[in-house]
């Protein structure tokens, strides 16, 4: 019996020490969302201009679906990144932007009843062929670039694939909050908004306690 408590203690210590040995930590933060832009003019005007309803205020365009937060470390390389799924629903993508680790696969799923002939404006060879209804199309992302995806037979279907040079990235919710599980280390915080990466100075060191507050304007990065 005397050995059992010792064994149990050792086992407990080992279990407790395991995560620490892996060096993983959770980074939570909140991104200050930019003011929603004015709703652009209608892409397809009918005989009349659109009219606001008289019962409630018109909803502002959502900003959060267009934001992506990534943590990049200099020496770290993504090994065997997991596949990312991107769904087509109706005449739009499930998310307007989708982040894919460089070297990873993006699986485009057509959840509509119409075949979609997708293409990337920046690289004509990125997506080959038509995505059939309820079919899938794997796309290999090999560069940290932004691809604009459109469909020939759906003029309003439009989305962006963001090649992220890291496996550590997350989307923000409607309030701007995000959460990332990353190994210990020092990371540079990068934010993608609509068309490109935003230049920011923040770094985060994992393990990180508290909530990372990302404030300030979301100005596009200087090239």
């Amino acid at each position: 019996m005397s050995k059992r408590p010792g064994f149990a203690l050792i086992a407990l210590l080992v279990v407790a020490a395991l995560p620490r040995a892996a060096g993983a930590g959770k980074v939570t933060g909140k991104l200050e969302l930019p003011a929603p832009p004015e709703r652009p003019p209608s892409a397809t005007r009918g005989f009349l201009d659109r009219v606001e309803n008289q019962i409630a205020d018109v909803q502002k365009p959502a900003v959060a679906p267009f934001l992506l937060v990534a943590l990049e470390s200099d020496g770290a390389k993504a090994d065997n990144p997991a596949d990312v799924t991107w769904e087509i629903v109706g005449d739009s993508f499930g998310k307007p932007i989708v982040g894919v680790p460089v070297g990873g696969n993006l699986v485009i799923v057509n959840a509509t009843r119409t075949p979609r002939a997708l293409s990337a404006a920046e690289d004509g060879k990125l997506i080959d062929g038509i995505v059939n209804p309820n079919g899938q199309k794997p796309v290999k992302i090999t560069a940290a670039k932004v691809y604009t995806i459109t469909a020939a037979n759906a003029p309003y279907l439009r989305g962006k694939i963001v090649g992220v040079p890291s496996t550590h990235f997350a989307y923000v919710d409607a309030t701007g909050k995000f959460e990332l599980d990353v190994p210990d280390g020092s990371y540079k915080v990068r934010v993608f908004y609509r068309d490109g990466w935003i230049e920011r100075d923040e770094t985060v060191t994992v393990p990180f306690k508290g909530e990372l507050q990302l404030k300030g304007p979301l100005a596009p990065a200087k090239k």
Partner: protein, 557 residues
């Protein structure tokens, strides 16, 4: 005669010009009619745009009412709470929507309805071809996204089998909703564009209307196979984002549909259908070209009324032309001819030796001159014949008249073949122009000579008035040289006189004009006075001595 000829030319020219105008006038009139037709067609096209906008407002009101129905709000609210919209839920929502649609009043009853929840999922479909299909997300279409955001708007969709729909969407908003998001979803109502709709539009604009997607006719008020190539070309030329200006921006085009000819104006249809090259055309038959005979056939009795037709002007013109023609004929042809005739009668009667050339203008003067030349020739021939006879027969005896007397006595009193009719002397009231049929035989030549002689003497100088017996005998021998010279001088001066008048073509034009003017001034003077005046030496005559001599030579010839 000159002005008569000019008048004839003027009348002919006026007639030709009038005929040219008559043949030409229908063309510009036709062109104006075509332009008016084109303009009215463009206006009809603009009117169609206005009517379609008005129809969109009606449909938008209808959709808004539909979206505010409590049963619809409840059906969508229930769907929002479900993770998955199954067939049962769709069926129950469909029943509700059909009941609400059945209560819809007015002419624009929708052809289909779609209920969408807050996330863009289809809650149910009513009267669509795929209404039994499972739910799907229809987010992403601008109409639905903006309706979910709170806007009311319209659009044009192209469905299966190239069906064109006017669609309207409205947000489903809960009144007095306490939760954060009052938006429950959206409803979409669609109206199919059919020929009945096109016919209803035609009644308003009095021109045919057709709706097309690319080269396919979707609906038309009149079934005609319009030339799609020309329609497509016209649509292809349209540019700019404001489709409402298409009717004014493009010109009407000429089209053929089989054997019929049309004028058409095209305008693009907005919305999602624009991506499918949807457009509409307003067209009407091209006005037929009437031409001259067609225009004549269209003349009505009212067109010839005094109020509509310038009869006074036309009548006045006719009278003026007629009077002008008659007057010119009278002054230039009739009167001079009458004058010439009268003078010829006087000449024939022996009232005058020669015709007065200056009294007759133009061709009549030429006739008079020709007659005078002939008279001169006859005189010369008679003299030479007498001279020959004198030479043959010798000089005449004392107291006789010479060869003439001999000739007179030598003439046989009886005609060959029997004695001639006894010719009584002509009555004292005899006139030359009396008809020969009822007035007896012509007077004998000696009688004529007797009658003519006194008149000749009256014009001859006083020397000739002496009785023949007292006259010195000159004919017994060859005439003295001085007499011959005098005669030659008289003939020369006569020719010179003639040449001094306007008829001599070799005289300068100014001189001829001056003489003509002078002569017209002295028309009332007697011929003797004129002759005297002609004998007076004139500077111009002297200046043209050479010309006169030429003239005399030519006239003597």
């Amino acid at each position: 005669m000159f002005w008569s000829k000019i008048w004839f030319f003027i009348v002919t020219t006026v007639a030709v010009v009038a005929l040219t105008f008559a043949l030409l006038m229908p063309r510009p009139a036709q062109r104006v009619l075509g332009d008016l037709e084109r303009r009215s067609l463009s206006e009809a096209c603009n009117l169609i745009t206005i009517l379609l906008e008005g129809d969109a407002r009606v449909r938008l009101d209808l959709t808004s009412q539909f979206a505010r129905t409590q049963e619809i709000i409840n059906a969508i609210d229930q769907a929002n709470g479900a993770d998955k919209i199954d067939e049962a839920r769709m069926e129950s929502a469909r029943t509700v929507a059909q009941q609400v649609l059945a209560r819809t009043k007015g002419k624009r009853v929708p052809d289909f309805a779609i209920l969408v929840d807050r996330r863009g999922r289809v809650v149910t479909r009513v009267k669509t071809a795929d209404e039994k299909d499972p739910s799907e997300n229809v987010g992403g279409r601008p109409l639905i996204d903006e309706a979910l955001a709170g806007y009311l708007r319209d659009d044009l969709w192209v469905g299966g089998n190239n069906a064109l729909y006017f669609v309207t969407a409205a947000p489903v908003v809960q009144l007095n909703y306490t939760k954060s998001d009052p938006y429950f979803g959206a409803v979409v109502l669609g109206h199919r564009v059919e020929s009945a709709f096109a016919k209803a539009l035609k009644e308003r604009i009095e021109a045919d209307v057709g709706f097309f997607i690319d080269s396919t006719t979707i609906a038309a008020s009149k079934t005609v196979a319009l030339d799609q190539t020309m329609l497509q070309d016209a649509v292809g030329k349209l540019s700019g984002g404001d489709f409402a200006r298409d009717c004014s921006a493009n010109k009407p085009i000429d089209l053929r549909a089989g054997t019929e000819e049309y004028i058409a104006v095209v305008a693009r249809l907005p919305g999602e259908a624009a991506d499918k090259k949807a457009f509409y055309a307003v067209y009407a038959p091209r006005p037929a070209e009437l031409g001259f005979t067609g225009t004549l056939n269209k003349i009505t009795k009212g067109d010839l009324d005094f109020g509509n037709f310038p009869w006074l002007l036309v009548g006045g013109m006719f009278i003026v032309m007629l009077a002008g023609g008659v007057a010119l004929m009278l002054f230039e042809a009739d009167r001079p001819l009458r004058r010439l005739t009268a003078e010829a009668v006087r000449l024939a009667k022996g009232d005058m030796e020669r015709m007065s050339e200056d009294a007759h203008p133009g061709k009549f003067g030429s006739i008079a001159r020709s007659v005078n030349i002939h008279i001169d020739k006859l005189g010369r021939d008679a003299k030479s014949a007498k001279k020959d006879l004198d030479q043959l027969l010798g000089p005449a005896p004392e107291g006789s008249l010479g060869t003439i007397d001999l000739l007179a006595t030598a003439l046989p009193s009886v005609r060959p073949g029997g004695p001639g009719p006894s010719a009584p002397p002509p009555p004292s009231e005899f006139r030359f122009n009396d008809g020969g049929s009822g007035s007896g035989p012509m007077p004998a030549p000696d009688a004529r000579r007797r009658r003519r002689r006194p008149r000749t003497r009256s014009r001859a100088p006083a020397r000739r008035r002496r009785p023949p017996a007292a006259r010195p005998r000159r004919r017994s021998a060859a005439p003295p040289r001085s007499a011959r010279r005098r005669r030659a001088a008289r003939a020369r001066s006569r020719s010179r006189r003639r040449c001094r008048r306007r008829t001599c073509p070799l005289l300068p034009r100014a001189a001829r004009r001056r003489r003509r003017r002078r002569r017209s001034r002295s028309t009332t003077t007697s011929s003797a006075a004129r002759r005297r005046a002609a004998r007076r030496p004139r500077a111009t005559a002297r200046a043209s001595t050479r010309t006169s001599s030429r003239c005399s030579i030519s006239s003597s010839r």
